[in-house]
Symmetry: C2
Subunit: 444 residues, 2 copies
């Protein structure tokens, strides 16, 4: 159990129209995450992730780890500093160009802060020497910092210059095998988004700078999004950059929505393995470049995109699985009748029981007793904790009753302890989840 008075959460108020570190406030997730003391810019497009948001990121990382390890992905860590030579070999040093942050070491050797690691993975495969087809396929991934020198960083964590990303890479002896693994990994993606209960659409997309023969974007509808989708309300089919009209799959009328790209996946073929000489030896002893596929999810972007999609202008809302804490418990104001009757002990007892029965290591107590219950309730609602438990006047009744506020409920519910615990145990996050609505259908 943690106490809110001890959490480092520098709450601020941003005046209308104010710039923070030379950056305009252009969307609600950016404003709310800063005002609630969760994220703080250090410079244009660079951010400190403060403790409560860091907790959310860790929860999100754990969901991603779980869903990827389950399909056999193996975690590794590649250096962020990638030799510029590799990007010359692939030709991307020119095509990606000014978005690359380049570095020279004390001996004059050039590196870049990698925005992605296709070259590094292909070089790793090449460096091992030609693999036998028997060693293929394999699927590797990492979660870590990536860099992109955006011309105009904006929308806070939605378009920053240093960001956390999941990037996975699969290596194959054939295109058929790559396609097979691609489907397995994109199913894991669907599971990640279902666990978050987010309506993320998989839409076919042009491969762009990355190359390859097939690619999908993973798009989350949100008004502040910079991409446009035509979504079919009937079959959930979604397509990119199209005018609303008849759904190409079922014929129903589609709707236009703005959306945020939270992931991108590619079947790359030999786009990187050929220039970087990453080969394998086939059963007939011939040598050929390996087939690759790659898979990215912007971790810090997904966090902020989900907040952007779910929140109002006035209050944060999170996917329940990644809220900083699943529940907050608020006790009486110091000096009140309730305080005199059972003081802080009762509040801690209730919080402990909620931890034991529903949200292990995931309950916070708002122990700022100098503030009224109403004030703390307002702040808890603004923070978007999925469950708010108030030990107020009702706790003096026999049996004592507690108020439970949940996002989405019109009215709080007054419950005795057993009812409270039963209700919360029912809300426990059963993650990651296989069942549920599937928004991940595509044209491709």
């Amino acid at each position: 159990m943690r106490f809110l008075s001890q959490i480092f959460q520098p709450v601020i108020t941003i005046p209308k129209g104010a710039k923070i570190k030379n950056t305009e406030i252009t969307c609600k997730s950016q404003k709310l995450l800063m005002e609630c003391g969760l994220v703080r810019p250090t410079s244009s497009g660079l951010f400190t992730i403060l403790p409560l948001a860091r907790r959310s990121i860790t929860k999100l990382e754990n969901i991603i780890h779980h869903c990827l390890e389950e399909v056999g992905a193996q975690r590794l860590s590649l250096p962020c500093l990638t030799s510029a030579k590799l990007w010359k070999q692939s030709g991307r040093i020119d095509s990606v160009g000014p978005e690359l942050i380049q570095v020279e070491d004390r001996h004059g050797k050039r590196y870049l802060l990698a925005p992605t690691h296709e070259e590094a993975i292909a070089d790793l495969v090449a460096d091992i020497g030609p693999l036998s087809y028997k060693q293929l396929p394999f699927l590797l991934y990492q979660i870590g910092n990536k860099y992109r020198d955006e011309h105009r960083p904006k929308h806070g964590l939605l378009r920053s210059r240093e960001f956390s990303m999941l990037d996975a890479y699969s290596i194959h002896a054939s295109d058929a095998c790559a396609t097979n693994t691609y489907n397995v990994v994109t199913d894991a993606y669907k599971k990640i988004f279902r666990t978050l209960d987010l309506p993320v659409h998989r839409v076919q997309a042009p491969p762009g700078d990355m190359g390859g023969r097939l690619s999908h974007e993973w798009q989350l509808p949100a008004a502040a999004g910079e991409d446009a989708l035509a979504v079919c309300p009937s079959c959930h089919h979604a397509a990119r950059a199209r005018q609303p009209g008849a759904c190409e799959r079922c014929g129903a009328d589609t709707c236009a929505v703005n959306s945020i790209e939270v992931g991108h996946t590619f079947v790359l073929g030999a786009r990187y393995s050929e220039p970087l000489l990453a080969g394998f030896v086939a059963p007939d002893a011939s040598t050929a470049p390996v087939h690759m596929a790659c898979y990215g999810i912007g971790v810090t972007r997904l966090l902020s995109a989900s907040v952007e999609a779910l929140s109002s202008e006035k209050a944060l809302r999170w996917p329940a699985a990644i809220a900083p804490y699943s529940a907050v418990v608020i006790g009486p104001k110091e000096g009140s009748k309730e305080w005199s009757a059972h003081g802080f002990d009762r509040v801690q007892d209730v919080a402990r029981r909620v931890e034991q029965n529903a949200f292990r290591d995931d309950v916070i107590v708002d122990d700022r007793h100098q503030l009224t219950i109403g004030k703390r309730l307002m702040m808890a609602d603004r923070m978007g904790y999925p469950h708010i438990v108030v030990c107020g006047r009702g706790a003096l009744e026999a049996p004592p009753r507690y108020e439970l506020f949940r996002s989405g409920d019109a009215e709080p519910r007054a419950l005795d302890l057993n009812e409270l615990l039963a209700t919360l145990a029912d809300q426990r996050i059963r993650q990651p989840v296989d069942a549920g609505a599937d928004y991940g259908e595509s044209a491709g």
Copy 2:
């Protein structure tokens, strides 16, 4: 349960005297970690951490998270790109000098890839505006990449240019409070090293470039270490850069040992808060710079240092709590009598029972059946798995018997399944541990 045939582990043999990516092989951890397919250099002083070593790092990170959160530390993430301006304010841009990797963005603004984050933390405190003394103290930490452009990277992960570090920072209204928290955090350090069962010595050290009034190095004895200690075998007191002689604490004869610095802790006072204007408001309404302390552990360095200290020239040895897997299970060779009798099913059953009874999600099966048991046993010993279980000829007996090899045991033990499970359950890592030998005594 995982299968070794599916693990990405590119085993190589490094010829004597060979250079890898322009780097000489100068110590045994460097050679063994590369040869066993755990770590691979990409460039001078830069390394890919391959899946089995990545598992070890994750275990080590979890121990650190646990021990720090237990004393109230709150995790955050600061950007790796720190504005050069802050390092000008502190004066360190010149004193650290050529070891800093500097970067210019597309608008000409200068950043550096932070080797440490004192300036960034002080700037965060300054940016919040003067804190009230009531908001102090707090203790923040992160685990992430750090950068140092070493003139001559060497010894593999022991002296690399991109490395993972725990760095923690505490912020206080007084020196007394800073000293108090310093003691709490250094106790958490002792717990981390006890959990790893490593004889890490806390020794008083000059503050150097970092500044401040008090500092300790955390030193792990190892022949390849670049530091020298005088260690007292009687009271465990250790001192830096001294000739062996009488122990300054108990008078017994000391021994000279080489050692590796795996951590460094500092009471900083106002060294950073003063130039960076990080102040607080005292009860009497006066404003003063906050007091700071900082705490570092080289995560990738600690991993390689522990391997360096424990391994022989021929075989890896790990602290049991961070071995890539706690146990490996080896089954019969394909086509053997044992294989015909119970094939692979028995091996998987045994592995499953070992997982359930002792090492949850931490058992690997060496399913490379085309290799003899002897060959796989040799490889498992070289990898340093703490427990090796062989389902060989003994599994045909009634009751079936399995061989258990443990590092340090002179002979394997033949055990029936219940004996095997009981023995292994007893070896389960109870981490992190409070009890045990305490090497962390200091002169300071």
